[in-house]
Symmetry: C2
Subunit: 415 residues, 2 copies
């Protein structure tokens, strides 16, 4: 049934071997050609995308999703820019990450190598096709793309441009393959191809990610949701804290690193919350407060469900806590282990928070919005890992590599 | 049904929180107490083990397996020694592995943290109980032990000694839990406890490992079999190569890093193979050769199956190849990606081999027997990972850690 994909997987595996020891120069040339071809095929891509958008409208898809699907000249320019950004990143392949020279002279080096074949399963945004392809190729990996069915025409046109570019480069065009079948069981097929795929990355809603984590036999890199917390400790500077909370909530509410729950120390609540209320009223942020919060400011009562909700919207839940320990307990219970921040002037509390919170990124006196490959100096990312194995936090080029030991001897034998 | 384990899992999770930021000093004190208690409870452990051995004999278990199960004073001394080795290893927790200070002064550190709760599923050798427990505790992890049913009495006695030791230490005794049920479906239950277990490590035969990889929803660290290769290139020094091949095959044939297949360049075969035959006859190593090999030396004909077999015995398969490319092709087809070595005086071939072979350890002019945590300077290991995610090669203390980003700001907001 999946003969098309089975054939593509064999080709991907062969291409991965070619890519695995390819010097950066050739990979960068290919990325520049991709940028060029995206420009050349701009009209084709926009036409294909218009078809997807029309189909989506006919299928009654809601406008916010259509907006994610829709391409225009500006978005194509951004895709071209994304290729150039990746060209400028340092290739991690070959980097020596550890070394050990034995007493007997045997030299052991641990070096970065590509992972091999990476499969990305994602939803409607067609720019993900370019973001993930460029990062995969630069780190020496072949890539299987399974985009949303809604975006199939757009993705076909983009992958056509990519393959045209690769055919002029040293990278085999079969290093990038798109799954064209829209049969839903194809995901199940892909995530069990251990002989051909080294890593699967689900990007999208919780349903997709949970399905892949539960059913994959191929190793999974989980990029999860963010129910991020900020704890305003009793010693926090109120004016500065308001700025940080505002930034974490409203700078871009639809992102996984935006704050969703505010924990406020009881001793600062009376002075902090009225100011917060004023600020958030002016920004149309809805506050859902615990019982104690409701006694200080006018707000919607928070339910148990609120503490576990990633709003991705102009909504924030607020809870007053008795102590830093209660804040830590609350975070342990409800956090998705993405990003949490403490705002405090108390040294011991800052250290306690950092040591006790088990999340990908833990902040003192900063907005959670920084958890991002670009902000962390990694240049670009394919997502934020909330799992603990292999990669945690932003997943950039390095995180798309594995390692191997290379050992240089003089006919050494083990004693 | 698995109420016992469910309760233990809750306790493990709590203990992992306590362990996660515990200074090395307290962990080392606990390990020293474990060593002491193993000595104190020596008689109890040997008695329990005698019961296991008797049961195994009654169940008709073969002697080679009984030998793996059996403890004696020497083996208990080795377990005590293993604790002391781990005390002397550097604690990886807290190590800064990367850092980035932004232009705006925000300081981002990537530090090592414990993984959390690790489950080990293993077969009969009871010393694995100590090896894995000490490495897990030193790296700040709680551990769930699921040993073979054959060794249950021994493991109960060992874990009793461990818990007695922990009760005198800062580490909660519930940081180490043994699965006591022998119901086979318990493995299936364990490998799906994503809310309580962060990593599962299967140690044992291929059947167990494959089962866990296929069915686990918890991330798995695969420690696989080793069909290791040595390629004797045409320019290799014959006398030195004989020593390396001998070492790789006979120094300890039952290990995963022992060589199983020898690939010999056709231009050196006539001079190398008769010498090899002489050497291996004297050491009672059975040679299974390809057709061309059979024309040069007397040997058993190798079948297709031989190329894919991990003998773990005094047997070696030998194939004559036309070129280094044929050697690389053969390895790509049959290797389990553990350890491979080239013996050569040719620089370009050494580099080609290193770049083209996708295994955890790739050697030039050295025995494959070095692939081992101890030999690689890591002190100790819980196994050799043949997967590409998270850890590849020997899995020591560092590989039992994850990372998190800790970020220090001055009320920084994202622009």
């Amino acid at each position: 049934m999946f003969e098309e994909i089975s054939k593509k997987l064999s080709e991907l595996k062969k291409s991965a071997q070619v890519l695995s020891s390819m010097p950066s120069k050739y990979k960068d040339e290919a990325l520049k050609l991709i940028a060029k071809k995206l420009d050349e095929y701009r009209e084709d891509i926009l036409l294909a995308n218009a078809k997807d958008v029309e189909n989506a409208r006919q299928n009654g898809i809601k406008e916010s999703l259509i907006d994610r699907l829709k391409l225009n000249d500006k978005r194509i320019d951004e895709m071209i820019q994304a290729c150039e950004t990746v060209v400028n990143l340092k290739d991690p392949v070959g980097e020596v990450v550890d070394s050990f020279v034995r007493e007997d002279g045997l030299k052991i080096y641990k070096i970065r190598v590509p992972i091999g074949v990476i499969a990305i399963i994602y939803e409607s945004r067609p720019n993900v096709t370019i973001e993930t392809t460029t990062l995969a190729l630069k780190s020496g990996n072949a890539i299987l793309l399974k985009g949303g069915s809604d975006a199939l025409n757009s993705n076909k046109a983009i992958v056509h441009a990519i393959k045209e570019a690769l055919s002029l480069s040293t990278i085999p065009p079969s290093a990038v393959e798109l799954v064209e079948t829209t049969d839903r069981s194809v995901v199940d097929y892909i995530i069990k191809q251990n002989d051909f795929i080294d890593l699967v990355v689900p990007r999208g809603g919780k349903g997709l990610i949970d399905y892949v984590v539960k059913n994959a036999t191929v190793p999974v890199l989980e990029t999860g949701a963010g129910v991020c917390h900020i704890f305003v400790d009793e010693s926090a500077d109120i004016q500065k804290s308001l700025m940080v909370v505002d930034n974490a909530k409203t700078q871009r509410p639809g992102t996984c690193n935006a704050v969703e729950t505010l924990l406020v120390h009881k001793n600062i609540a009376n002075s902090f919350l009225p100011e917060l209320k004023k600020l958030f009223d002016s920004k149309h942020v809805e506050i859902r407060g615990c019982e104690k919060t409701q006694k200080i400011i006018e707000c919607i009562p928070a339910t148990e469900e609120d503490w576990a909700t990633e709003y991705l919207d102009y909504i924030i839940s607020v809870k007053i806590v008795e102590s830093i320990d209660e804040a830590i307990e609350h975070i342990r219970k409800y956090s998705t282990k993405h990003s949490e921040s403490i705002l405090t002037e108390n040294y011991s509390n800052s250290m306690k928070f950092i040591n006790s919170i088990d999340s990908a990124a833990v902040y003192v006196n900063a907005s959670t919005r920084f958890t991002d490959g670009g902000q962390f100096g990694m240049g670009a990312e394919i997502g934020i890992s909330t799992q603990k194995l292999h990669a945690r936090g932003p997943v950039g080029l390095r995180e798309l590599t594995s390692t191997k030991f290379i050992v240089f001897g003089d006919y050494h034998v083990r004693a």
